[in-house]
């Protein structure tokens, strides 16, 4: 079986769920080879093995934390040259897309971003994208070089295929260019204790109709009652009611949870682009003509400021 190179993403030292999705998708195309950037502890290697990575490459160098993007791209390129995979899979996101972009240039390869599905074929991996604000599905293939594909989180359900990986350290001779965009400082955000927005099975989102930052406190209670994450429309993040990192839509995150509960969100096309892949959509809005009702599986026309607290109370009784 040919190799499929999967770039591993971690948060707080743990392998992120989208990486497990990539490993699951990779097994359709060949044998997953995982690439860890930074130190790989036993837990990381074991997790990657549990999801089918027969080989784990590790590149650990100070450049990876000291400089932006370029060292990561050079590490992926170097390992891709060693492994000669049928496909390079990276999680969609600002870092992932830029790493993929530079790998494509270095390998002179075709690149396809924001895949929602991938399948093998005689002419290489067939990559499905959700385009035109999610209203169309397009199937594409890379026709030149090693296909470089970025995949949206939640595009597959992680499935275990346990194996014991071989661990390989890889040395990368970084270029001078890799040491030009220097990270001079970082600030960390406090963890919310809620699931990651892009990974969450349930997302509770608020929009312009929320009216205040305090109303988002109420949404957090609802999210906690359901075990979900909190999101916001651009209108709400632009007002400063909730953090920009929680924005869903064209310029924010794309989510595809099992349940998307939209509160006070009208459902403009830019917002729908980020959430209409959700399996089930429930909406509360005071405007019966809000476009969100056209895509909602269940909608309630009414005042969210009375309905949401009542939902929290009802859930508390159960």
């Amino acid at each position: 079986m040919p190799a499929v190179l999967v770039l591993v993403e971690r948060a707080d030292g743990a392998v992120r769920k989208p990486t497990l999705e990539l490993l699951t998708l990779a097994r359709r195309l060949g044998d997953p080879v995982a690439l860890v950037l930074g130190p790989a502890d036993d837990d990381t290697v074991a997790t990657l093995g549990r999801y089918g990575a027969g080989t784990v490459y590790v590149v650990d160098a100070p450049e990876l934390t000291d400089y932006l993007v370029v060292p990561h791209a050079e590490a992926v390129t170097e390992v891709a040259r060693q492994v000669d995979p049928v496909c390079v899979l990276v999680t969609s996101g600002p870092d992932g897309k830029e790493i993929a972009a530079r790998v494509a240039v270095a390998l002179d390869s075709g690149i396809i971003t924001d895949a929602v599905d991938i399948a093998p074929s005689d002419s290489g991996p067939v990559v499905t994208q959700s385009v035109f604000s999610g209203s169309w599905l397009a199937d594409s293939t890379v026709t030149s070089g090693t296909p470089v594909v970025t995949v949206r989180p939640n595009s597959a359900t992680p499935e275990e295929a346990p194996t014991t990986p071989t661990v390989q350290q890889a040395d990368v001779a970084f270029s001078d260019l890799a040491r030009t965009a220097k990270v001079t400082g970082t600030t960390a955000k406090e963890s919310t204790g809620r699931p990651d927005l892009t990974d969450a099975a349930i997302v509770v989102a608020g929009g312009r109709g929320m009216g205040s930052p305090e109303a988002f406190g109420m949404l957090e209670q609802l999210a906690d009652a359901l075990g979900g994450a909190v999101a916001a429309s651009r209108a709400a993040t632009d007002m400063g009611w909730y953090g920009h990192e929680f924005q869903v839509g064209q310029t924010g995150k794309t989510v595809a949870p099992q349940l998307y509960l939209a509160s006070g969100i009208s459902g403009a096309i830019q917002h729908r682009a980020g959430m209409q892949g959700s399996k089930t959509i429930v909406a509360v809005n005071k405007d019966p003509k809000a476009p969100i009702f056209a895509i909602a599986d269940f909608g309630v026309v009414g005042d969210l400021h009375t309905i949401v607290p009542a939902v929290i109370e009802e859930l508390g009784k159960r």
């Binding site: 948060a11 993007v69 370029v70 791209a73 600002p94 870092d95 897309k97 830029e98 972009a101 530079r102 494509a104 240039v105 002179d108 390869s109 075709g110 690149i111 959700s130 035109f132 999610g134 209203s135 169309w136 599905l137 397009a138 199937d139 594409s140 293939t141 890379v142 026709t143 030149s144 296909p147 030009t180 965009a181 220097k182 990270v183 001079t184 970082t186 600030t187 955000k189 990651d196 651009r234 920009h244 990192e245 064209q250 310029t251 096309i269 830019q270 089930t280 959509i281 019966p288 009702f293 909602a296 269940f298 909608g299 309630v300 026309v301 009375t306 949401v308 009542a310 009802e314 159960r318």
Partner: protein
């Protein structure tokens, strides 16, 4: 100093998009505009100058004849001049070819600082700034939520889910800016009139030194094999809250095993 802002003329996001026969986006049938996300780059370039940076601002676009409207929109907000890479051979170019043409055009025009939006609002790939930086061999300082230029250094803040990174690089560099940098200004009437008179240079592929065979649909490194309209989501149930709305939501969630 010369700031070159890369701008893209895109189909109006609220219009109904469709594929042309060759499975490229049908741009002819849809109204176009300067990509909203590029307006943030224009705004930040103008603000750098207003804060005292001594620089001229050149807008660079690549696209069909109508793309000049995107340059004019940017010029109506401010800036010095425009450059339009216009060539029939460009139709169907992928991001790899687009970045190659833009890099060649940038070398032709000259630059100290290249500024771009965080993505186009049509293809939404977010890969061209990194590709252009790679091809030019200059630092990329991308997804800036804020930007400063101090002497020959560019400094940005890059936000992510886990926090913020502060990044700096020496010029020349490529900087992409996010929609968190601040609303773009509306052109004034005076600005619109002035924008119409500002020089726009049109360049062909030959002018920038790119072989026509290296771009366009024929050179694309990926191809769309098929596309289908997603079946619209089946219309759900919408009820008007008459005191039972919350209970109905909880019943719905329970019936679908979310609680």
């Amino acid at each position: 100093m010369k700031i070159v802002v890369l701008v893209k003329y895109v189909p109006e996001p609220t219009a109904s998009w469709r594929y042309a026969q060759d499975l490229t986006l049908d741009r002819a049938g849809v109204e176009g505009r300067l990509s909203e996300l590029d307006e943030y780059a224009v705004e930040q370039a103008l603000q750098l100058i207003e804060k005292g940076l001594d620089a001229e601002i050149v807008y660079l676009t690549m696209g069909p004849a109508k793309a000049v409207d995107g340059l004019r929109k940017a010029l109506s907000m401010g800036g010095t001049s425009g450059v339009h890479v216009l060539d029939d051979a460009l139709h169907g170019s992928d991001a790899m070819a687009t970045s190659a043409v833009l890099a060649k055009a940038l070398e032709h025009v000259g630059f100290d600082l290249v500024m771009t939006g965080m993505a186009s609002t049509d293809a939404e790939m977010s890969v061209v700034p990194a590709m252009v930086a790679a091809r030019l061999g200059v630092p990329q300082v991308t997804f800036a939520a804020s930007i400063e230029v101090e002497g020959s250094l560019v400094k940005i803040r890059r936000d992510s889910d886990s926090g913020s990174q502060f990044v700096e690089a020496s010029l020349p560099a490529v900087v992409s800016v996010t929609d968190q940098t601040g609303e773009a200004r509306y052109p004034s009437f005076k600005g619109i009139m002035a924008g119409k008179k500002k020089p726009v240079e049109t360049l062909t592929l030959a002018d920038v030194g790119v072989e026509p065979a290296a771009v366009g649909a024929g050179a694309a490194r990926s191809v769309t094999r098929s596309a289908s309209e997603r079946p619209p989501r089946a219309a759900g149930t919408v009820v008007v809250d008459e005191g039972e709305g919350a209970a109905q939501i909880v019943q719905y969630l329970a019936a679908n095993k979310f609680v």
